[in-house]
Symmetry: C2
Subunit: 308 residues, 2 copies
Amino acid sequence: MDFEAELKKRTERAENIIKNYLPEIAGPQATVIEAMDYSVGAGGKRLRPVIMMAAYEMCGGEGELVEPFCAAIEMIHNYSLVHDDLPEMDNDMIRRGIPSTHAKYGPGMAVLAGDGLLNSAFETALKSTAFAGSADDNANILKALSVLADRSGIYGMIGGQAVDVEAEEKNLELPEEDILFVYENKTSALLQASMVCGALLAGADGKTADVFSEAARCLGVAFQIQDDILDVTGTTEEIGKPAGSDERNGKKTYLAYLGMEGAEAEQRRLSAQAHDLVAGISVADGGEAAEAKEFLTELIDALVDRRK
Amino acid sequence: MDFEAELKKRTERAENIIKNYLPEIAGPQATVIEAMDYSVGAGGKRLRPVIMMAAYEMCGGEGELVEPFCAAIEMIHNYSLVHDDLPEMDNDMIRRGIPSTHAKYGPGMAVLAGDGLLNSAFETALKSTAFAGSADDNANILKALSVLADRSGIYGMIGGQAVDVEAEEKNLELPEEDILFVYENKTSALLQASMVCGALLAGADGKTADVFSEAARCLGVAFQIQDDILDVTGTTEEIGKPAGSDERNGKKTYLAYLGMEGAEAEQRRLSAQAHDLVAGISVADGGEAAEAKEFLTELIDALVDRRK
């Protein structure tokens, strides 16, 4: 497999799906829709929908049923960035090289645009019912919606953000287990939603869903540790943001507890585990499912073996 | 029917359902959960869940299937208040006589608490699947989820808020049709979700759902016009907030276009229409459905014939 070509093809497909489900800029409320589309349209790697689609195909999923969920997970990821950038949160004026949503549309409209994206994620995911052909499809959609909601909420992404925000506001030094909590929820949770929703929508059983969930948990934590390592060892040019910012901000990361060598070992252990768990899921030989599996395992390796 | 006693009984029931579904304050993310529970627990009339339950019973609904949706609609109503009160929005430090969520927990945590409530609304509504006994129940839940998401989002409540916020920020004088748009979306939309979700979860057909939707639209606009009228004719003591605030804030309401007499006539016309539409829905004689119908029509009358 030419991994880079495959990644490019799959990213373009995700990009088209996302565009297809973005709300049309119209009506008296056109400004808030424009702000939503602006933040989602600003780019990004589209990793989560790419991962979801691969998990769906690995489990034998076909057709458009998964597509609304692919758009939904990207809306959730983007709303979290819009709200993160707000003045009362990180107060970031630039995101992906262009003005952040509140910098362009004002903070009031950015609050509403973030709310609009989170709400639209569920509106959009529910559009999968249009492609449901059976009562089983409906049951799978309901299961996937529950996973999407759980992993995005206070027991997932929002929970991780809240611990992170509180630590910053109150200048707390988080103990090691709370740092792990932040990584597992702020980063792993949406990766878990991506893999597990993809699998469930294809009709995978609970056991397979659990394997994907654990693989995504490992992947997210490994990814986050790699971020911490790069913040110390990378150059500003390589990582595309100021190097050494964690230390300057007094932010305690896993490195503080594990040291550089320990962190590198833990990162290797977790990424190997993520790889092995996905590699261990059996799929039909040849065809789309096998291709998707090869792609997803290579993607896992690429994500944690990176310099940016 | 002793309407006041019935209202009290039904409000208490709604209060218990809401408490039952509020997330438990625990874990490293306890603070954000506490902020969520604080804002929902601060009270309010619980109108939306009371209305949803009545519509459910009118359509023959029984058992707990509707309860997660009752809690969900109240979470959505409350998240909108939490975000409305933020410094970049209305910057209100007091809500229901106590510090607003951002005043108590800080604006960063209030953003996350609002996000958490919106997300929890869908997490909670999805718990209705635990009470689903058939593929039909699953299909009804999916339909109700779509209505809940649509009426809360950019084609409903958020859309109305966005137009309102933009008009305030840019000091725009909204034309009459945009004022109607704000009323229909900021106020009617969640009432529509309440009635229509209740009906659909009980298995009502699309035609009945449409009648409820139009009744709730009329009720919301009538309610909002009554608010405008009371702002001019009520005393601060009666309405529990500073009288005359619309005029002082330079806020254009329906009164500016219809005049006092015209507004009163329109309010009477719309509330009569809401009453008649609900009264026109046929239900089984005697029993819970008939009681719920009598209650709901009286509630509509009471809501628009008020001094506060």
